[in-house]
Symmetry: C2
Subunit: 275 residues, 2 copies
Protein backbone atom coordinates (compact mmCIF):
# COMPACT_ATOMS: atom_id res chain seq x y z
CA UNK A 1 0.00 0.00 0.00
CA UNK A 2 1.50 3.34 -1.04
CA UNK A 3 0.50 6.76 0.22
CA UNK A 4 -0.58 9.03 -2.66
CA UNK A 5 -1.54 12.03 -0.52
CA UNK A 6 -2.16 12.97 3.08
CA UNK A 7 -3.92 16.16 4.20
CA UNK A 8 -5.04 17.30 7.60
CA UNK A 9 -8.72 18.30 7.50
CA UNK A 10 -11.52 18.88 10.04
CA UNK A 11 -9.48 17.46 12.94
CA UNK A 12 -8.62 14.30 11.07
CA UNK A 13 -6.56 13.06 8.16
CA UNK A 14 -7.72 12.61 4.58
CA UNK A 15 -5.47 10.12 2.82
CA UNK A 16 -5.31 8.52 -0.60
CA UNK A 17 -3.58 5.18 -1.11
CA UNK A 18 -2.82 2.89 -4.03
CA UNK A 19 -2.19 -0.85 -3.95
CA UNK A 20 -1.92 -3.83 -6.29
CA UNK A 21 -5.28 -5.59 -6.39
CA UNK A 22 -5.62 -9.29 -7.08
CA UNK A 23 -9.36 -8.86 -7.68
CA UNK A 24 -8.74 -6.56 -10.64
CA UNK A 25 -5.17 -7.36 -11.61
CA UNK A 26 -4.46 -3.63 -11.57
CA UNK A 27 -3.28 -0.91 -9.26
CA UNK A 28 -6.31 0.46 -7.41
CA UNK A 29 -6.64 3.80 -5.62
CA UNK A 30 -8.88 4.59 -2.65
CA UNK A 31 -9.47 7.41 -0.18
CA UNK A 32 -9.66 7.03 3.63
CA UNK A 33 -10.63 9.70 6.12
CA UNK A 34 -9.56 9.01 9.71
CA UNK A 35 -10.80 11.38 12.44
CA UNK A 36 -8.46 12.11 15.31
CA UNK A 37 -9.02 9.54 18.05
CA UNK A 38 -7.51 8.11 21.21
CA UNK A 39 -4.59 5.81 20.48
CA UNK A 40 -5.75 2.21 20.37
CA UNK A 41 -9.40 3.15 19.80
CA UNK A 42 -11.16 1.37 16.94
CA UNK A 43 -13.70 3.43 15.03
CA UNK A 44 -16.77 2.41 13.05
CA UNK A 45 -16.20 2.13 9.29
CA UNK A 46 -18.48 3.64 6.67
CA UNK A 47 -18.06 2.69 3.00
CA UNK A 48 -18.99 5.19 0.29
CA UNK A 49 -19.41 3.84 -3.24
CA UNK A 50 -19.35 6.36 -6.08
CA UNK A 51 -21.35 6.70 -9.27
CA UNK A 52 -20.66 6.45 -12.99
CA UNK A 53 -17.52 8.27 -14.23
CA UNK A 54 -16.32 8.93 -10.67
CA UNK A 55 -13.08 7.96 -8.95
CA UNK A 56 -12.35 8.05 -5.21
CA UNK A 57 -11.77 11.78 -5.62
CA UNK A 58 -15.25 13.11 -6.41
CA UNK A 59 -16.75 12.52 -2.98
CA UNK A 60 -13.44 13.30 -1.30
CA UNK A 61 -13.38 16.76 -2.88
CA UNK A 62 -17.07 17.61 -3.12
CA UNK A 63 -18.89 15.38 -0.64
CA UNK A 64 -18.46 17.60 2.44
CA UNK A 65 -18.36 14.58 4.75
CA UNK A 66 -15.32 15.36 6.89
CA UNK A 67 -16.82 17.79 9.39
CA UNK A 68 -19.60 15.41 10.46
CA UNK A 69 -17.41 12.30 10.17
CA UNK A 70 -14.94 13.96 12.52
CA UNK A 71 -17.64 14.92 15.02
CA UNK A 72 -19.24 11.46 14.88
CA UNK A 73 -15.95 9.53 14.86
CA UNK A 74 -16.52 7.67 11.59
CA UNK A 75 -13.80 6.37 9.27
CA UNK A 76 -14.90 6.86 5.66
CA UNK A 77 -13.49 4.73 2.84
CA UNK A 78 -14.17 5.63 -0.81
CA UNK A 79 -12.99 3.08 -3.42
CA UNK A 80 -12.67 3.72 -7.13
CA UNK A 81 -15.54 2.63 -9.41
CA UNK A 82 -13.56 0.27 -11.67
CA UNK A 83 -10.12 -0.94 -12.61
CA UNK A 84 -8.27 1.53 -14.83
CA UNK A 85 -5.28 1.60 -17.14
CA UNK A 86 -4.16 1.28 -20.74
CA UNK A 87 -4.27 -2.52 -20.61
CA UNK A 88 -7.74 -2.65 -19.05
CA UNK A 89 -10.73 -3.09 -21.38
CA UNK A 90 -12.79 0.04 -21.90
CA UNK A 91 -15.66 1.41 -23.93
CA UNK A 92 -16.04 4.79 -25.56
CA UNK A 93 -19.33 5.30 -23.70
CA UNK A 94 -19.13 6.87 -20.23
CA UNK A 95 -21.58 4.34 -18.78
CA UNK A 96 -19.56 1.21 -19.59
CA UNK A 97 -16.04 -0.01 -18.83
CA UNK A 98 -13.57 2.15 -16.91
CA UNK A 99 -15.40 4.34 -14.39
CA UNK A 100 -18.49 2.12 -14.67
CA UNK A 101 -17.73 -1.15 -12.88
CA UNK A 102 -21.26 -1.50 -11.44
CA UNK A 103 -19.81 -3.43 -8.46
CA UNK A 104 -20.14 -6.76 -10.29
CA UNK A 105 -17.79 -9.68 -10.85
CA UNK A 106 -17.83 -9.75 -14.65
CA UNK A 107 -18.02 -13.18 -16.28
CA UNK A 108 -17.95 -12.18 -19.95
CA UNK A 109 -15.00 -11.36 -22.21
CA UNK A 110 -13.22 -8.99 -22.34
CA UNK A 111 -14.34 -7.78 -18.90
CA UNK A 112 -13.92 -10.89 -16.73
CA UNK A 113 -10.17 -10.56 -16.36
CA UNK A 114 -10.17 -7.15 -14.61
CA UNK A 115 -13.71 -6.21 -13.63
CA UNK A 116 -13.88 -8.03 -10.30
CA UNK A 117 -15.34 -5.07 -8.42
CA UNK A 118 -17.69 -7.17 -6.29
CA UNK A 119 -14.87 -9.22 -4.79
CA UNK A 120 -12.70 -6.10 -4.61
CA UNK A 121 -15.23 -4.13 -2.54
CA UNK A 122 -16.69 -7.08 -0.60
CA UNK A 123 -13.50 -9.00 0.17
CA UNK A 124 -10.11 -7.68 -0.85
CA UNK A 125 -10.39 -4.06 0.21
CA UNK A 126 -12.13 -4.83 3.55
CA UNK A 127 -9.24 -7.18 4.42
CA UNK A 128 -6.73 -4.44 3.63
CA UNK A 129 -8.68 -1.82 5.59
CA UNK A 130 -9.03 -4.15 8.59
CA UNK A 131 -5.30 -4.79 8.57
CA UNK A 132 -4.10 -1.22 8.08
CA UNK A 133 -6.55 1.14 9.79
CA UNK A 134 -8.01 1.56 13.30
CA UNK A 135 -11.44 0.16 12.33
CA UNK A 136 -13.93 -1.92 14.26
CA UNK A 137 -15.08 -4.36 11.57
CA UNK A 138 -18.08 -5.29 13.73
CA UNK A 139 -19.41 -1.77 13.13
CA UNK A 140 -19.59 -1.23 9.36
CA UNK A 141 -22.09 0.77 7.32
CA UNK A 142 -22.30 1.35 3.57
CA UNK A 143 -23.73 4.04 1.34
CA UNK A 144 -23.26 5.46 -2.12
CA UNK A 145 -24.53 7.54 -5.01
CA UNK A 146 -26.34 6.45 -8.16
CA UNK A 147 -24.41 3.39 -9.45
CA UNK A 148 -22.75 3.45 -6.01
CA UNK A 149 -26.17 3.52 -4.35
CA UNK A 150 -26.92 0.36 -6.31
CA UNK A 151 -23.61 -1.03 -5.07
CA UNK A 152 -24.33 -0.16 -1.45
CA UNK A 153 -27.85 -1.61 -1.46
CA UNK A 154 -26.90 -4.85 -3.21
CA UNK A 155 -23.77 -5.45 -1.13
CA UNK A 156 -25.69 -4.88 2.12
CA UNK A 157 -28.52 -7.15 0.97
CA UNK A 158 -26.14 -9.95 -0.07
CA UNK A 159 -24.19 -9.83 3.22
CA UNK A 160 -26.80 -9.95 5.99
CA UNK A 161 -25.43 -8.79 9.31
CA UNK A 162 -22.16 -7.48 8.00
CA UNK A 163 -23.37 -3.88 7.57
CA UNK A 164 -25.33 -2.37 10.45
CA UNK A 165 -26.60 0.47 8.26
CA UNK A 166 -27.22 1.20 4.59
CA UNK A 167 -28.29 4.34 2.73
CA UNK A 168 -28.09 5.86 -0.73
CA UNK A 169 -28.28 9.10 -2.67
CA UNK A 170 -30.29 8.77 -5.91
CA UNK A 171 -29.55 5.03 -6.30
CA UNK A 172 -30.11 2.84 -9.32
CA UNK A 173 -32.54 0.59 -7.45
CA UNK A 174 -33.13 -1.95 -10.21
CA UNK A 175 -30.52 -2.30 -12.97
CA UNK A 176 -32.66 -5.04 -14.54
CA UNK A 177 -35.33 -2.42 -15.20
CA UNK A 178 -33.30 0.53 -16.52
CA UNK A 179 -31.16 1.25 -19.61
CA UNK A 180 -27.86 1.76 -17.72
CA UNK A 181 -28.30 -1.53 -15.91
CA UNK A 182 -29.47 -3.59 -18.88
CA UNK A 183 -26.49 -2.43 -20.91
CA UNK A 184 -23.90 -2.98 -18.18
CA UNK A 185 -25.21 -6.25 -16.75
CA UNK A 186 -25.77 -7.65 -20.25
CA UNK A 187 -22.19 -7.02 -21.20
CA UNK A 188 -20.49 -7.85 -17.87
CA UNK A 189 -22.62 -10.93 -17.06
CA UNK A 190 -24.07 -12.12 -20.37
CA UNK A 191 -27.63 -12.46 -21.52
CA UNK A 192 -28.86 -15.00 -18.95
CA UNK A 193 -30.82 -12.66 -16.73
CA UNK A 194 -30.88 -15.14 -13.85
CA UNK A 195 -27.31 -14.05 -13.13
CA UNK A 196 -28.39 -10.42 -12.92
CA UNK A 197 -30.62 -10.83 -9.88
CA UNK A 198 -27.66 -10.88 -7.50
CA UNK A 199 -26.94 -7.32 -8.68
CA UNK A 200 -30.41 -5.82 -8.37
CA UNK A 201 -31.62 -4.47 -5.02
CA UNK A 202 -35.28 -4.97 -5.85
CA UNK A 203 -34.73 -8.53 -7.14
CA UNK A 204 -32.65 -9.41 -4.08
CA UNK A 205 -35.46 -8.24 -1.80
CA UNK A 206 -38.03 -10.18 -3.87
CA UNK A 207 -35.80 -13.23 -3.51
CA UNK A 208 -35.77 -12.90 0.27
CA UNK A 209 -32.75 -10.73 1.15
CA UNK A 210 -33.31 -8.35 4.07
CA UNK A 211 -31.70 -5.38 5.83
CA UNK A 212 -32.91 -3.66 9.01
CA UNK A 213 -33.86 -0.40 7.30
CA UNK A 214 -32.85 1.86 4.41
CA UNK A 215 -32.45 5.63 3.97
CA UNK A 216 -32.66 7.12 0.46
CA UNK A 217 -32.47 10.76 -0.60
CA UNK A 218 -33.52 11.58 -4.15
CA UNK A 219 -33.71 14.95 -5.91
CA UNK A 220 -36.88 15.71 -7.85
CA UNK A 221 -34.93 17.67 -10.49
CA UNK A 222 -32.61 14.73 -11.18
CA UNK A 223 -32.42 14.19 -14.96
CA UNK A 224 -32.08 10.43 -14.47
CA UNK A 225 -34.99 10.01 -12.06
CA UNK A 226 -37.72 8.67 -14.33
CA UNK A 227 -35.74 6.56 -16.77
CA UNK A 228 -32.83 5.19 -14.72
CA UNK A 229 -33.39 5.52 -10.96
CA UNK A 230 -37.08 4.74 -10.33
CA UNK A 231 -37.12 4.88 -6.52
CA UNK A 232 -40.76 3.78 -6.50
CA UNK A 233 -39.58 0.28 -7.44
CA UNK A 234 -37.55 0.15 -4.23
CA UNK A 235 -40.48 1.56 -2.27
CA UNK A 236 -42.70 -1.21 -3.62
CA UNK A 237 -40.15 -3.95 -2.93
CA UNK A 238 -39.54 -2.67 0.62
CA UNK A 239 -43.28 -2.40 1.30
CA UNK A 240 -43.86 -6.00 0.16
CA UNK A 241 -40.96 -7.21 2.33
CA UNK A 242 -41.73 -5.05 5.40
CA UNK A 243 -38.33 -3.32 5.18
CA UNK A 244 -38.65 0.18 6.64
CA UNK A 245 -37.60 2.63 3.90
CA UNK A 246 -37.16 6.35 4.52
CA UNK A 247 -37.40 7.85 1.02
CA UNK A 248 -36.89 11.61 1.01
CA UNK A 249 -37.83 13.30 -2.27
CA UNK A 250 -35.89 16.60 -2.27
CA UNK A 251 -37.63 19.33 -4.23
CA UNK A 252 -35.49 20.99 -6.88
CA UNK A 253 -32.29 19.06 -6.18
CA UNK A 254 -30.46 17.33 -9.03
CA UNK A 255 -28.04 14.39 -9.41
CA UNK A 256 -24.86 16.30 -8.53
CA UNK A 257 -22.63 16.64 -5.49
CA UNK A 258 -24.42 19.94 -4.80
CA UNK A 259 -27.32 17.67 -3.82
CA UNK A 260 -25.26 14.97 -2.12
CA UNK A 261 -23.31 17.42 0.04
CA UNK A 262 -26.57 19.01 1.21
CA UNK A 263 -27.82 15.78 2.77
CA UNK A 264 -24.45 14.22 3.66
CA UNK A 265 -24.79 15.18 7.34
CA UNK A 266 -28.18 13.46 7.57
CA UNK A 267 -26.74 10.27 6.13
CA UNK A 268 -23.71 10.28 8.42
CA UNK A 269 -25.97 10.74 11.44
CA UNK A 270 -28.22 7.89 10.21
CA UNK A 271 -25.20 5.60 10.05
CA UNK A 272 -23.67 6.81 13.32
CA UNK A 273 -26.91 6.06 15.17
CA UNK A 274 -26.74 2.46 13.93
CA UNK A 275 -22.99 1.96 14.43
CA UNK B 1 -24.79 37.90 -18.25
CA UNK B 2 -25.28 34.27 -19.22
CA UNK B 3 -26.07 31.39 -16.91
CA UNK B 4 -23.44 28.67 -17.14
CA UNK B 5 -24.90 26.40 -14.46
CA UNK B 6 -27.47 26.43 -11.71
CA UNK B 7 -27.67 23.83 -8.93
CA UNK B 8 -29.81 23.68 -5.84
CA UNK B 9 -27.64 23.15 -2.74
CA UNK B 10 -28.02 23.51 1.03
CA UNK B 11 -31.37 25.34 0.75
CA UNK B 12 -30.04 27.82 -1.75
CA UNK B 13 -28.84 28.08 -5.33
CA UNK B 14 -25.26 27.80 -6.55
CA UNK B 15 -24.94 29.50 -9.94
CA UNK B 16 -22.14 30.22 -12.38
CA UNK B 17 -22.39 33.10 -14.82
CA UNK B 18 -20.27 34.50 -17.64
CA UNK B 19 -20.24 38.05 -18.97
CA UNK B 20 -18.21 40.33 -21.23
CA UNK B 21 -15.90 42.40 -19.06
CA UNK B 22 -14.70 45.86 -20.07
CA UNK B 23 -12.02 45.74 -17.35
CA UNK B 24 -10.34 42.74 -18.96
CA UNK B 25 -11.64 42.85 -22.54
CA UNK B 26 -12.55 39.17 -22.17
CA UNK B 27 -15.40 36.97 -21.14
CA UNK B 28 -15.20 36.46 -17.37
CA UNK B 29 -16.81 33.71 -15.30
CA UNK B 30 -17.89 33.94 -11.66
CA UNK B 31 -19.83 31.89 -9.12
CA UNK B 32 -22.66 33.17 -6.91
CA UNK B 33 -24.37 31.31 -4.09
CA UNK B 34 -27.75 32.71 -3.05
CA UNK B 35 -29.43 31.23 0.04
CA UNK B 36 -33.20 30.92 0.00
CA UNK B 37 -34.70 34.13 1.39
CA UNK B 38 -37.91 36.09 1.64
CA UNK B 39 -38.85 37.78 -1.62
CA UNK B 40 -37.65 41.36 -1.64
CA UNK B 41 -35.10 40.76 1.13
CA UNK B 42 -31.55 42.00 0.49
CA UNK B 43 -28.77 39.87 1.89
CA UNK B 44 -25.23 40.74 2.94
CA UNK B 45 -22.59 40.05 0.30
CA UNK B 46 -19.33 38.23 0.96
CA UNK B 47 -16.58 38.22 -1.67
CA UNK B 48 -14.18 35.28 -1.87
CA UNK B 49 -10.99 35.79 -3.87
CA UNK B 50 -9.09 32.67 -4.94
CA UNK B 51 -5.41 31.84 -5.09
CA UNK B 52 -2.86 31.10 -7.80
CA UNK B 53 -3.99 28.68 -10.54
CA UNK B 54 -7.61 28.75 -9.31
CA UNK B 55 -10.79 29.69 -11.11
CA UNK B 56 -14.20 30.41 -9.54
CA UNK B 57 -14.66 26.64 -9.36
CA UNK B 58 -12.11 25.59 -6.72
CA UNK B 59 -13.83 27.16 -3.75
CA UNK B 60 -17.25 26.41 -5.21
CA UNK B 61 -16.46 22.70 -5.34
CA UNK B 62 -14.14 22.26 -2.37
CA UNK B 63 -14.71 25.23 -0.05
CA UNK B 64 -17.68 23.77 1.89
CA UNK B 65 -19.21 27.22 2.41
CA UNK B 66 -22.82 26.62 1.41
CA UNK B 67 -24.17 25.05 4.59
CA UNK B 68 -23.04 27.92 6.81
CA UNK B 69 -23.78 30.60 4.18
CA UNK B 70 -27.32 29.26 3.96
CA UNK B 71 -27.78 29.26 7.74
CA UNK B 72 -26.28 32.75 8.09
CA UNK B 73 -28.02 34.21 5.03
CA UNK B 74 -24.86 35.29 3.18
CA UNK B 75 -24.53 35.66 -0.58
CA UNK B 76 -21.07 34.45 -1.66
CA UNK B 77 -19.46 35.67 -4.88
CA UNK B 78 -16.29 34.01 -6.20
CA UNK B 79 -14.63 35.70 -9.22
CA UNK B 80 -11.97 34.16 -11.42
CA UNK B 81 -8.32 35.01 -10.70
CA UNK B 82 -7.44 36.51 -14.12
CA UNK B 83 -8.64 37.00 -17.65
CA UNK B 84 -8.30 33.88 -19.76
CA UNK B 85 -8.27 32.91 -23.44
CA UNK B 86 -6.09 32.21 -26.43
CA UNK B 87 -5.67 35.91 -27.16
CA UNK B 88 -4.79 36.83 -23.59
CA UNK B 89 -1.09 37.07 -22.65
CA UNK B 90 0.18 34.18 -20.57
CA UNK B 91 3.35 32.73 -19.14
CA UNK B 92 4.45 29.13 -18.96
CA UNK B 93 4.92 29.48 -15.18
CA UNK B 94 1.88 28.78 -13.01
CA UNK B 95 2.51 31.86 -10.86
CA UNK B 96 2.32 34.44 -13.67
CA UNK B 97 -0.27 35.36 -16.29
CA UNK B 98 -3.52 33.45 -16.64
CA UNK B 99 -4.66 32.17 -13.23
CA UNK B 100 -2.31 34.61 -11.50
CA UNK B 101 -3.80 38.10 -11.87
CA UNK B 102 -2.77 39.21 -8.36
CA UNK B 103 -5.75 41.60 -8.26
CA UNK B 104 -3.70 44.39 -9.84
CA UNK B 105 -4.33 46.79 -12.71
CA UNK B 106 -1.32 45.95 -14.85
CA UNK B 107 0.49 48.87 -16.44
CA UNK B 108 3.24 47.03 -18.35
CA UNK B 109 3.15 45.34 -21.77
CA UNK B 110 1.87 42.81 -22.66
CA UNK B 111 -0.30 42.63 -19.52
CA UNK B 112 -1.89 46.07 -19.38
CA UNK B 113 -4.51 45.38 -22.05
CA UNK B 114 -6.29 42.54 -20.23
CA UNK B 115 -5.01 42.30 -16.66
CA UNK B 116 -7.32 44.87 -15.07
CA UNK B 117 -8.28 42.64 -12.16
CA UNK B 118 -8.30 45.47 -9.60
CA UNK B 119 -10.93 47.44 -11.46
CA UNK B 120 -12.76 44.23 -12.32
CA UNK B 121 -13.09 43.13 -8.68
CA UNK B 122 -13.39 46.61 -7.14
CA UNK B 123 -15.69 48.26 -9.67
CA UNK B 124 -17.09 46.34 -12.61
CA UNK B 125 -18.19 43.13 -10.91
CA UNK B 126 -19.69 44.89 -7.85
CA UNK B 127 -21.83 47.00 -10.18
CA UNK B 128 -23.05 43.88 -11.96
CA UNK B 129 -23.72 42.06 -8.68
CA UNK B 130 -25.59 45.06 -7.26
CA UNK B 131 -27.77 45.22 -10.37
CA UNK B 132 -28.54 41.52 -10.75
CA UNK B 133 -28.69 39.95 -7.27
CA UNK B 134 -30.62 40.57 -4.02
CA UNK B 135 -27.63 42.08 -2.22
CA UNK B 136 -27.37 44.86 0.36
CA UNK B 137 -24.27 46.72 -0.85
CA UNK B 138 -24.03 48.48 2.53
CA UNK B 139 -23.19 45.10 4.07
CA UNK B 140 -20.18 43.71 2.20
CA UNK B 141 -17.31 41.61 3.49
CA UNK B 142 -14.30 40.18 1.67
CA UNK B 143 -12.01 37.20 2.18
CA UNK B 144 -9.75 34.97 0.17
CA UNK B 145 -6.95 32.44 0.05
CA UNK B 146 -3.23 32.94 -0.58
CA UNK B 147 -3.02 35.34 -3.57
CA UNK B 148 -6.75 35.91 -2.91
CA UNK B 149 -6.00 36.66 0.73
CA UNK B 150 -3.61 39.31 -0.54
CA UNK B 151 -6.42 40.56 -2.77
CA UNK B 152 -8.95 40.67 0.06
CA UNK B 153 -6.63 42.48 2.48
CA UNK B 154 -5.43 45.08 -0.03
CA UNK B 155 -8.89 45.77 -1.46
CA UNK B 156 -10.35 46.23 2.03
CA UNK B 157 -7.47 48.49 3.06
CA UNK B 158 -7.75 50.64 -0.08
CA UNK B 159 -11.52 51.08 0.28
CA UNK B 160 -12.12 52.17 3.88
CA UNK B 161 -15.70 51.67 4.97
CA UNK B 162 -16.80 49.70 1.96
CA UNK B 163 -16.17 46.30 3.53
CA UNK B 164 -17.43 45.76 7.07
CA UNK B 165 -15.29 42.65 7.51
CA UNK B 166 -12.11 41.14 6.09
CA UNK B 167 -10.39 37.81 6.62
CA UNK B 168 -7.97 35.48 4.87
CA UNK B 169 -6.70 31.94 4.70
CA UNK B 170 -2.91 31.72 4.37
CA UNK B 171 -2.61 35.14 2.68
CA UNK B 172 0.38 36.59 0.87
CA UNK B 173 0.68 39.50 3.31
CA UNK B 174 3.51 41.36 1.59
CA UNK B 175 4.13 40.72 -2.11
CA UNK B 176 6.98 43.23 -1.98
CA UNK B 177 8.80 40.87 0.39
CA UNK B 178 8.26 37.46 -1.26
CA UNK B 179 9.33 35.79 -4.52
CA UNK B 180 5.80 35.35 -5.93
CA UNK B 181 5.01 39.00 -5.35
CA UNK B 182 8.33 40.41 -6.59
CA UNK B 183 7.98 38.45 -9.82
CA UNK B 184 4.34 39.32 -10.45
CA UNK B 185 4.39 42.98 -9.40
CA UNK B 186 7.65 43.56 -11.27
CA UNK B 187 6.17 42.27 -14.49
CA UNK B 188 2.63 43.68 -14.13
CA UNK B 189 3.65 47.09 -12.73
CA UNK B 190 7.27 47.61 -13.76
CA UNK B 191 10.37 48.07 -11.67
CA UNK B 192 9.39 51.28 -9.84
CA UNK B 193 8.55 49.81 -6.48
CA UNK B 194 6.63 52.90 -5.39
CA UNK B 195 3.76 51.61 -7.53
CA UNK B 196 3.80 48.30 -5.70
CA UNK B 197 2.81 49.67 -2.31
CA UNK B 198 -0.85 49.93 -3.30
CA UNK B 199 -0.79 46.16 -3.70
CA UNK B 200 0.87 45.21 -0.44
CA UNK B 201 -1.20 44.84 2.74
CA UNK B 202 1.73 45.57 5.05
CA UNK B 203 2.84 48.62 3.04
CA UNK B 204 -0.72 49.96 2.91
CA UNK B 205 -0.95 49.70 6.71
CA UNK B 206 2.45 51.37 7.08
CA UNK B 207 1.20 54.13 4.80
CA UNK B 208 -1.84 54.72 7.01
CA UNK B 209 -4.63 52.48 5.65
CA UNK B 210 -6.87 50.96 8.33
CA UNK B 211 -9.59 48.34 8.75
CA UNK B 212 -11.57 47.58 11.93
CA UNK B 213 -10.04 44.14 12.48
CA UNK B 214 -8.65 41.15 10.59
CA UNK B 215 -8.99 37.36 10.94
CA UNK B 216 -6.28 35.11 9.45
CA UNK B 217 -6.00 31.33 9.58
CA UNK B 218 -2.68 29.81 8.59
CA UNK B 219 -1.57 26.17 8.54
CA UNK B 220 1.77 25.36 10.13
CA UNK B 221 2.45 22.61 7.56
CA UNK B 222 1.93 24.99 4.64
CA UNK B 223 4.87 24.57 2.21
CA UNK B 224 4.71 28.27 1.32
CA UNK B 225 4.65 29.61 4.88
CA UNK B 226 8.26 30.68 5.43
CA UNK B 227 9.21 31.88 1.96
CA UNK B 228 6.02 33.36 0.52
CA UNK B 229 3.36 34.00 3.15
CA UNK B 230 5.17 35.35 6.23
CA UNK B 231 2.19 36.14 8.46
CA UNK B 232 4.51 37.62 11.09
CA UNK B 233 4.95 40.64 8.79
CA UNK B 234 1.21 41.29 8.98
CA UNK B 235 1.26 40.75 12.73
CA UNK B 236 4.01 43.37 13.06
CA UNK B 237 2.24 45.86 10.79
CA UNK B 238 -1.07 45.42 12.63
CA UNK B 239 0.62 45.76 16.02
CA UNK B 240 2.28 49.01 14.96
CA UNK B 241 -1.00 50.36 13.63
CA UNK B 242 -3.23 49.11 16.47
CA UNK B 243 -5.31 46.99 14.10
CA UNK B 244 -6.70 44.00 16.02
CA UNK B 245 -5.48 40.86 14.23
CA UNK B 246 -6.66 37.37 15.11
CA UNK B 247 -3.96 35.12 13.68
CA UNK B 248 -4.70 31.43 14.18
CA UNK B 249 -1.75 29.14 13.47
CA UNK B 250 -3.32 25.73 12.73
CA UNK B 251 -1.05 22.84 13.64
CA UNK B 252 -0.45 20.33 10.84
CA UNK B 253 -2.71 21.97 8.25
CA UNK B 254 -1.37 22.74 4.77
CA UNK B 255 -2.17 25.18 1.95
CA UNK B 256 -5.02 23.17 0.40
CA UNK B 257 -8.80 23.30 0.44
CA UNK B 258 -8.66 20.50 3.03
CA UNK B 259 -7.41 23.26 5.33
CA UNK B 260 -9.67 26.04 4.05
CA UNK B 261 -12.83 23.96 4.31
CA UNK B 262 -11.98 23.09 7.92
CA UNK B 263 -12.07 26.73 9.02
CA UNK B 264 -14.61 28.04 6.50
CA UNK B 265 -17.43 28.04 9.08
CA UNK B 266 -15.34 30.14 11.48
CA UNK B 267 -14.71 32.72 8.76
CA UNK B 268 -18.34 32.89 7.66
CA UNK B 269 -19.41 33.43 11.27
CA UNK B 270 -16.75 36.16 11.66
CA UNK B 271 -18.16 37.96 8.65
CA UNK B 272 -21.80 37.40 9.59
CA UNK B 273 -21.22 38.96 13.02
CA UNK B 274 -19.91 42.10 11.32
CA UNK B 275 -22.51 42.27 8.52
Amino acid sequence: METVSRNRSHAGTQCVYSHESSATGTEMTFAVYVPDHVEGEKLPLLWYLSGLTCTHANVMEKGEYRRAASELGLIIVAPDTSPRGQDVPDDSAWDMGQGAGFYVDATEAPWAKNFGMRRYVEQELPELIAAEFPVDMARQGIFGHSMGGHGALTIALRNPGRYKSVSAFSPIVSPIQCPWGKKALGRYLGLDKAAWRDYDACALIEDGARVADILVDQGTADNFLAEQLKPQLLAEACASADIPLTLNMREGYDHSYYFISTFMDDHLRWHAERL
